[in-house]
Symmetry: C2
Subunit: 639 residues, 2 copies
């Protein structure tokens, strides 16, 4: 296998030559994420999740669908019409893994996968196992609902990752042939091609990446065509209407993101990609406006997005039900993809803040601690029936989790010619060139469990080190260089800049205080009235029933006049910091039993017996016996 | 036309001979509902709603679908596959109207409608304009989703109403031919017929009524077959799964009503009908248990049912979102149908309580004050975009409202051989035989605006008069006979019994106090935490934006330490009692602008300026200019 050093810039998004990128993400293999938090998790992704997902690709019929087209298996197509993308995302994940070094067991399967894909491609480049054989005549007849270009998009993403990670042109050649066919068929009316649009965005961002990888601007033009064609009613009809597909208004006219959440977020990521290449200010302006509206009105405290089971949709302002939250794991990934591109485009720390928050509190909960179970839907309150599954009938999430974790190191840093931005704190290291010289930055930290971060600079030169001071920080962080307090303003929600002539072995120490924080919701988010969500550092917490067997979680009232303590529990849930507080069990009074409505009366002064309350990180919920869970806790604030 | 006196017992549900009925509903023409509340409304239904609905039947294609089958119109079928039922429900409504006396304009259209139906029936009795001509071969191939037996059910209900109201056999003959075909095709496996089941309940209750109307027990047997076949997975698959169709568990095993709300409620009504005929105690036991669960966990304060847009479904316990309430108008009607049958089966006042509550607060809101607009969905909070429509693409609700209002008088009273139960208070009169002698009961009242009800007994004899003391009554009602206080316990939530030898002209006076009531929700209904809903008598109230133009309704905090006054407004919204109280405009503080979550802090002691608050009956909302509305109001209870 070709080693990573000999190949191109293996970044999740290669903005190295994007004219409007303010930050260039470091490449996946250039960054190592290690330590007690990420070390075992990322190893588990490679060693448990990816092998067991391969078994699911086999048993679900995904691989057989390819064999069927090649004529080596004789059985009907199985699964959804977009099941091919399960393999593509798996290959993307494996490619990122391989960029870090050999993984023989995965490579053998990867070879099988590549051969299957090659064997299913049609002579003209078309590749979609659903529309093969008996359905071949129906190609491109239902772009709105049948996901053919969505499949192309994931094929391209896999091919680009495989090429970046290994240098192999093999999958890229397949992807280009299909992309070239699509480019020949679809285009603006004046070109004489067909004006068409996929109902599920994905091909757009993939084509921008294909342009970056091949240097061929026509793929960027194709992406721009698909992005600009949207919003003019081409996708009319359908069960949920045009909003579902974000086809109800041209992008620049949107007041808020609406409709299917994953579609909306992949769309936004694609538009951010288009901005990185074109610099069209109306794109960035619109994306910023939609991001602001989303974070101030449509975002769960988990970072999850998508309030409605109906149409897997984003909700209206303040429509954020807890038990019926949809918050698909793929939507969290879509949000991270968008944030990653906005960070490259703007270098604004709020995008890194949401990226980190989403990673810990919306992506990670979708993945079980044993690496073999996945949530599709991520509620913030549950009675104990919602459990992770080894695979789903619509299996978009599991390999999406795998590819995101496999490429996570590529989200951690951004660089300019003479500065490095640290977006994510995690034990590990990063290698890059700064001001023309190689530099290694080593992080030593127990983050997210602890806010102390030691950075060691192994390199020389004049460059800037930008450290992210998360927006959640409440007290001014301590920051020192070689033991001397740094004379800079480390303001929460900014990057603090350390610019100097660095010498090998320089040490930076950042101390982020991590008190327990109780967050309240905007008063118009009615369901959380009188309730708080507990956070510590970047982590959101929740209650689980088994830590409070005698009580209904909804009725436990946290007493915030007393301290809530953080406590390291090395054997619980793989090692977590739990929060312990004092609560009162305010069970609904006898008068409520059987009644849903009754005359209002002032709250009783009677309080229940004190209860020791234990909160665990939300990402770790549902990893023990089934039981109720909730994020928002009744709280007593005043006297 | 044959007058009502010459025909049978024209009740909405004819339980006259049902062996297990404890109460026999009075017939539609035997009861007159008049006075300032119901008089104009019921006239408007006959004079405005039914004629304009006929125009919609024409313009929507419903009538042309029938003409198409008869060969007099050459155009494709339009609308949903169950659009025939729009005409059937309209005919049912018109039939009830005709039972009260001639309506030449409606009769002419009715004749047209009957001819259209006759002309579309196939030689073997089959009747469904969707499965005619080119689709005739696909009959009964998709019972789960295509509503053929649902269409039969509404045809039977129309035919039964038409027969009861007019004595004409014309539509009944058509309905019987189709019913006979269905009885020949479907049945228990041991009969050699096909075991099949419609995905949307309706035919079951209709067949029980057909058995009552024709005296043929085989229709009852057919209803029993359809009811008992459900819950065994015959309707497997489908987008929403078996629960949607209530086919996930046999009825007697259900812990709660779930899935599509209208289906669930029509199902329950059918099962109650089966109980009325068979007396199977397991049916009544199950129905009672499900009713209790529904009213204590799944019922909106409006009486509306159905919490989810997804699958138009009932929700889980305490899942009752306000802005996203679904509460289809047809579900309110289904609930009234079920209550009406449970009342016949048990004579228990709680069914009358919910029936009345649903009528005023869940059915009536679905109908505009001008009689020409309908809600399908009935939210309890809205930003001002939800408006009634003259018709819907899925037009089940408008003619369902019309038939329910046209037959409303049949819901008002129940009788035994020697007693009359008054379920609904309304100006008007009722005629019946009691203890073998004709009796007329005259009601004089301004109810629901006022709780004073005068009853005049025009008849002689020993019989009981049972007056419903609604569950909402808080102080002991005053009750007198001929000016003398009655020595009986008029306990809220019971029928108070007056049994004596009545003489012509006896006068009963009942005085129900109607103070303004502020209701709170069970604490597990999180969205209503700290909020109250205002009621007076049977009416629920809401705030509308135009009465409080300077404030966000969500932020107005009603001060319940001060009185809330009721005030008659003769020109507002056709004449309503409004409620006036004092509130404070607690706008979200500046700190919230743009933030969705922030550190919790004790509520500020600062209060906004006092605001005069005006609440209007919920049934009358959205009849003025568009604007926000909400039912649940922030409230200050304590000091």
């Amino acid at each position: 296998m070709t080693g990573p050093a000999s190949v191109g810039f293996a970044a999740v998004v290669d903005a190295t030559r994007s004219p409007h990128a303010r930050l260039r993400p470091l490449s996946v293999p250039a960054v190592r994420l290690e330590g007690e938090f990420w070390g075992p998790r990322l190893a588990r992704n490679a060693e448990v999740s990816l092998p067991t997902q391969w078994e699911q690709l086999e048993s679900s019929g995904c691989l057989d669908n390819f064999r069927r087209v090649a004529g080596t298996v004789d059985r009907p197509h199985r699964g959804f019409m977009f099941a091919d993308t399960d393999l593509y995302k798996w290959i993307e994940a494996v490619s990122w893994e391989l960029s870090r070094g050999p993984r023989p067991a995965l490579e053998e399967r990867l070879e099988q996968g590549l051969a299957l894909i090659e064997g299913a491609q049609q002579p003209d480049g078309y590749l979609d196992t659903y529309y093969a054989l008996e359905r071949a005549g129906a190609r491109f007849t239902d772009l709105r609902d049948m996901h053919e270009l969505y499949c192309l998009g994931h094929l391209v993403q896999a091919a680009v990752a495989h090429h970046r990670a290994t240098g192999s042109e093999r999958l890229l050649a397949v992807a280009r042939r299909f992309a070239d066919l699509v480019c020949a068929v679809f285009g603006p009316a004046e070109s004489g091609r067909r004006v068409g649009l996929d109902g599920h965005q994905e091909v757009e961002l993939a084509l921008v990446e294909l342009a970056r990888e091949t240097g061929e601007a026509r793929y960027l033009e194709q992406a721009r065509f698909f992005l600009e064609a949207r919003g003019h009613g081409l996708l009319d009809g359908g069960f949920y209407g045009r909003e579902y597909y974000q086809d109800h208004q041209p992008f620049r006219a949107l007041e808020l993101l609406a409709g299917h959440a994953v579609r909306a977020l992949y769309y936004s990521a694609g538009l951010a990609d288009l901005y990185l290449e074109t610099g069209d200010p109306s794109l960035l302006q619109t994306l910023t406006r939609l991001f602001d509206r989303m974070t101030s009105r449509q975002l769960y405290v988990t970072g999850g997005l998508g309030s409605r089971h109906e149409g897997e949709a984003l909700g209206a302002d303040f429509e954020l039900p807890n038990a019926r939250a949809y918050t698909e794991t793929c939507a969290a990934i879509g949000s991270m993809m968008w944030c990653h591109r906005m960070l490259a485009a703007t270098a604004e720390p709020r995008y890194a803040d949401l990226l980190e928050h989403t990673l810990y509190n919306a992506l990670l909960p979708g993945w079980s601690l044993d690496g073999q179970g996945y949530f599709y839907v991520n509620p913030l309150q549950d009675g104990g029936t919602h459990r992770r599954q080894p695979w789903h009938r619509c299996a978009c999430c599991p390999p999406n989790v795998a590819r995101t974790l496999a490429s996570l190191s590529g989200y951690a840093y951004g660089a300019t010619a003479d500065a490095l931005h640290v977006h994510l704190y995690a034990q590990g290291s990063a290698r890059l060139e700064l001001a023309g010289r190689p530099v290694e930055l080593v992080q030593r930290t127990r983050y997210p469990w602890d806010g102390r971060v030691e950075l060691e600079v192994n390199g020389e030169g004049d460059f800037g080190l930008f450290l992210r001071i998360p927006g959640w920080v409440q007290t001014r962080p301590q920051l020192s260089v070689n033991g001397q307090a740094a004379e800079v303003a480390a303001t929460p929600g900014t990057y603090v800049e350390l610019r100097r002539r660095w010498r090998r072995g320089d040490r930076v120490e950042l101390l982020l205080d991590m008190p327990v924080r109780a967050l309240a919701s905007h008063p118009h988010l009615l369901e959380n009235t009188g309730r708080v969500a507990l956070m510590r550092g970047p982590l959101l917490y929740c209650l689980e029933g088994q830590d409070h067997p005698a009580h209904a979680l909804l009725d436990l009232e946290l007493d915030l006049r007393q301290p809530v303590r953080a406590e390291w529990q090395p054997t619980l849930l793989g090692g977590v910091v739990v929060l312990r507080g004092r609560a009162e069990g305010c069970e609904p009074e006898e008068a409520w039993r059987g009644a849903l409505y009754r005359p209002a009366s002032a709250p009783s002064a009677d309080r229940g017996a004190p209860v020791e309350l234990t909160a665990v990180p939300y990402f770790a919920w549902a990893n023990r016996a089934a039981g109720p869970m909730q994020v928002w806790l009744r709280a007593r604030l005043g006297p």
